[in-house]
């Protein structure tokens, strides 16, 4: 250990930023895994450009990865970075505005050459001006140091240069007192086929570590103790991965194979990628010609008796809407995953947003209610996808599952569940009626209103379904006026009944008070942290988080009534607000943000405070 000073911190937010080609996503995830294994709580936010590889050094080509690691419980990747690692001028330019004054900047000095400065739109070198005087800047000639370190390896200079992110990572590992083990192991596994590359990356990593330790540039060294997580075995997991694993687990518990039909689209494609690897679990993945085909194939697979799923993002959901309505009409169990992104239209494909809630609820012709679930954190995606399948099967209905770009790519530690704690999922296909009775494909389970799942190949269950209105019980085509009303009511009632299967909402904080913050989806972390901080200051604020958006948990109305004011932060222009206002006639206040970025804790705190002060005023006035 060096004799440099050591400081203890509760948590640190680092943002790695560089060119798309600089490997920042990799660097970030290595730091994440190392910190996770060290026992920190973590939360991450990758932010990559829409282009595969924008011109080197350009502003749109900047790729960043932010992570928050902590010795206590955290729920967001941090409002603002404490440390910015900038591998080139463009990365500095794009990210500087987020860094609070006094923050640490580590730059690759070598990259600040004229050509790069120009590409980043600088007319001067910020390292040589006083642009950065309010920050703690560490200028490191990373490229040169890295090249020097790898001098002896027989690789072209260009290849060597690719290791410079490991050099930077090494420096950060020293600064934050991390071990190199996890990354060393990973490098060997990943590049095993190419021993020179293994050597180069390992050398670079170690060189960075030792440089930071020895050189006079970086003077302090920080410690972030492990966090006190619940007992168990953990791994770091991203939302899309957790979603995929949840589906596989549900299939395992149901002893029935998955069929996942999808057309690639950002940010949902990784679920397809993940599932396509698990063929030995019986998982069939079909990459369809488009989203409509994927929806159709899902219906076909559900008709055949599989656990059928499709996944997409907003524009794809729009395309699926007609066929999804067919699934509703034929009442087959299936799950539609929508990993939301910035809209409307092609919008901001790589950015996060929650603006498909109304489309999900209402984007179909006719009165067509469907249940909607939404996980709150990356790791919760596991439970939620499991739950989606369970409910779909039990109620014989398509279930909509709303994730978003932030959950999909963000990560956090996940306590791996014990297999024996996973609920069983019971699959019951219809059996041929005995005693000469006719089979009634639309006769319902009196409790759930589920109709029989009568799969082809079962003698005696031959029947026809389709998109025309069905006659009650027989399922024949019916143009009868009253039957249409009956069936419309039944479809609505079936969804409504699901409430019996949905846990009541738990209030975070007091069960009544001045302000209630209501959230859904990925805003959970920011909302809960904001509320906790204000409560710690003695403010009268609580929060609830909706994981079931249709039907709502049955105690929702009751809870809403117990607060003077309701605040609804959403990464859209007020979609949940609309529903809650309509349903409960409460004057809920929306807090809307559509900027392709999750809420900061501070933004929510401010909105709550402003409501609190108004509620004070009201009290004083009345």
């Amino acid at each position: 250990m060096s004799k440099k000073s050591v400081e203890k911190l509760e948590n640190v937010v680092i943002r790695f930023a560089g060119d798309s080609g600089d490997g920042m996503q990799l660097t970030g995830s290595q730091f994440t895994n190392t910190s996770a294994v060290l026992g920190n709580d973590i939360s991450t936010l990758p932010d990559f450009p829409a282009e595969i590889r924008a011109p080197a050094g350009s502003l749109p080509g900047v790729s960043a990865f932010q992570l928050n690691f902590s010795s206590s419980d955290i729920r967001t990747p941090g409002d603002a970075p404490d440390v910015l690692v900038a591998m080139n001028p463009a990365a500095l330019k794009v990210n500087l505005k987020d860094l609070p004054k006094g923050g640490i900047i580590i730059v690759n000095e070598d990259a600040f050459i004229d050509r790069n400065l120009e590409r980043a739109g600088y007319d001067h070198n910020p390292l040589e001006s006083d642009d950065l005087q309010e920050y703690r800047v560490f200028k490191v000639p990373i490229s040169t140091l890295n090249q020097n370190a790898l001098e002896e390896i027989d690789l072209p200079g260009k290849s060597k240069d690719r290791s410079k992110n490991f050099f930077a990572l090494g420096m950060m590992y020293w600064m934050y007192d991390r071990s190199l083990e996890v990354t060393l192991h990973w490098i060997k596994k990943k590049f095993g086929k190419n021993p020179k590359v293994v050597e180069a990356n390992i050398k670079a990593l170690k060189a960075g570590f030792h440089y930071a330790e020895t050189a006079e540039v970086i003077s302090t060294h920080y410690k972030v103790e492990p966090s006190k997580l619940e007992k168990g075995t953990y791994r770091n997991i991203m939302g899309n991965q957790a979603t995929a694993l949840g589906f596989v687990a549900a299939s395992h518990q149901a002893k029935t194979p998955l069929v996942y039909c999808s057309y690639p689209i950002t940010p949902a494609s990784d679920v397809l990628h993940e599932l396509s690897r698990h063929k030995n679990f019986g998982v069939r993945t079909i990459q369809c010609e488009d989203e409509i085909a994927a929806m159709g194939a899902t219906i076909g697979a559900a008709f055949g008796g599989s656990l059928a799923l499709t996944g997409t993002s907003g524009p794809g959901l729009a395309l699926k809407s007609e066929a999804l309505n067919l699934a509703l009409m034929v009442e087959l169990p299936l799950v539609v995953l929508n990993v939301q992104r910035g809209g409307p239209s092609t919008g901001l494909p790589t950015k996060t947003e929650q603006s498909d809630l109304l489309q999900t609820l209402y984007g179909r012709n006719g009165d067509s209610p469907l249940p909607v679930l939404a996980p709150a954190t990356p790791s919760e995606c596991f439970q939620m996808s499991f739950e989606a399948i369970r409910l779909a099967v039990k109620y014989r209905t398509p279930i909509l599952y709303l994730s978003d770009g932030y959950l999909a790519n963000g990560s956090e530690p996940w306590r791996i569940p014990d297999l024996k704690d996973l609920p069983e999922i019971k699959i019951e296909y219809a059996k041929a009626p005995t005693g000469g009775k006719a089979f009634l494909p639309y006769e319902r389970n009196p409790e759930t209103l589920a109709r029989p799942w009568a799969i082809p190949g079962t003698p005696g269950l031959e029947h026809r379904v389709g998109g025309l209105e069905k006659a009650d019980k027989t399922g024949n085509v019916s143009y009868d006026p009253m039957n249409h009303q009956t069936m419309t009511n039944l479809r609505a009632e079936k969804v409504a009944r699901m409430v019996q299967d949905i846990p009541d909402i738990q209030v975070n904080g007091d069960p009544s008070g001045q302000v209630l913050v209501v959230g859904w989806g990925s805003t959970y972390g920011a909302i809960t942290s904001a509320v906790d901080r204000l409560r710690a200051l003695g403010q009268s604020v609580s929060s609830i988080h909706l994981r079931h958006l249709n039907p709502f948990p049955k105690n929702l109305g009751e809870i809403l009534k117990n607060f003077d004011q309701v605040l609804i932060p959403e990464m859209n222009m007020g979609q949940l607000s609309l529903i809650l206002r309509a349903k409960y006639l409460i004057d809920a206040k929306p807090l809307n943000k559509v900027q392709g970025q999750p809420f900061k804790i501070q933004e929510i705190i401010e909105a709550i405070q402003s409501l609190l002060s108004k509620s004070q005023e009201v009290k004083h006035a009345s």
């Binding site: 063929k279 030995n280 159709g296 008709f303 067919l326 031959e462």
Partner: protein, 342 residues
């Protein structure tokens, strides 16, 4: 195949077993009736248990077909039947899945799905009822309507160059491509049976008369007096000969099918001999090139070749994965990657 699905004990099936209790609701005189009856006659011959049959259709007059079949049936949405069939068959290769579609359903809104099911060679049978009109929506021109056709939506004549369904199927390298006509029950029987027995996507165009909105579209092929000149029956291993006197044949000239007349006693040597089993689809394309009214319309099997089916390949990948990696271990999967214990 789910374990719960019990295999039926064999029993001799007849046409009656395939007649559902639903009233048939096509217009009196519609060509669809003959197609329905013929198929109900063919299915018992295929040796497939009744409960294995599943009929999936889109929307159109023709697409009401599943209601009339006492089998599993799915009257889906416009143009999408091939997608449901693909999903179903991928999970359930044990089923005999039939897609019923029309010229609008299959070639207009559903053209892309048709293309893709054909190229993937999913083991489904596709019957395209081509009446060269939109029947159900009451008479607009369809993608197979002839140039200049006057309909409700083209009062001054259609300006859309018609598609030839066979050409499209061949462009996608379909493994089985055939054409038949609603008035020729015997021919339909043969073609349907061959389609039913084919392993892979079987595509059958059925020329079908819509008495209400496009009556007589295939008059020349149906009329006793003209049919022998207006159509040509494809017979494997036989030269391409047609005509009442069987005095006309087809030979190849400059990549073009050329009609030659001859004395029926002296059949020329250079007539094309019909061979649907060529891997090369160019021959079948040459046949597809023969179009009314200039040349006789070929009826029969244009192409019938073997290539692996999508559903088999998919399920083989599953089997192989299980064999090589062992059946999925959930415990292990959940614990993959770096883990740590608190």
């Amino acid at each position: 195949m789910p374990a719960e699905v019990a295999e039926n004990t064999e029993k001799k099936l007849t046409r009656k077993d395939f007649i559902s209790d639903q009233d048939v609701r096509w217009c009196p005189g519609c060509g669809d009736y003959a197609i329905l009856a013929t198929l109900q006659n063919v299915l018992p011959k295929l040796g497939i248990p009744k409960e294995k049959y599943t009929f999936i259709s889109g929307i159109g007059c023709s697409s009401r077909f599943p209601y009339y079949m006492e089998t599993f049936g799915f009257h889906s949405i416009h143009g999408r039947a091939p997608t449901l069939a693909t999903g179903l068959k991928s999970y359930r290769p044990d089923l005999s899945v039939w897609v019923i579609t029309g010229d609008g359903d299959g070639l207009s809104i559903g053209g892309n799905h048709l293309l893709h099911v054909l190229r993937r060679n999913v083991d489904v049978k596709i019957l395209l009822f081509n009446n060269r009109i939109y029947g159900l929506t009451k008479g607009q021109y369809s993608p197979t309507s002839e140039y200049g056709k006057k309909t409700k939506s083209s009062p001054f004549g259609s300006i859309d160059h018609p598609l030839n369904p066979i050409k499209i199927a061949l462009g996608a390298e379909a493994s089985f491509v055939a054409r038949t006509v609603d008035t020729d029950v015997k021919h339909m029987m043969e073609v349907f049976q061959a389609a039913g027995e084919h392993k892979g996507t079987a595509f059958v165009e059925i020329l079908q008369n819509c008495v209400i909105f496009n009556d007589g579209a295939f008059h020349a092929i149906n009329d006793k007096n003209t049919k022998d000149e207006a159509s040509l029956k494809l017979e494997e291993g036989q030269p391409l000969i047609f005509g009442k006197e069987r005095n006309k044949g087809i030979r190849l000239k400059n990549f073009e099918p050329e009609v030659v007349e001859f004395d029926p006693e002296k059949i020329p040597e250079d007539l094309i001999i019909h061979n649907p089993h060529q891997d090369n689809p160019v021959y079948a394309q040459l046949l597809a090139r023969m179009e009314a009214p200039l040349q006789p319309v070929p009826l029969g099997i244009f192409r019938e070749v073997q290539r692996p089916t999508y559903d088999d390949l998919l399920n083989e990948q599953i089997e192989t994965a299980i064999q090589t990696q062992g059946p999925g271990n959930l415990e292990k999967l959940l614990h993959s990657g770096d883990t740590w214990t608190v």
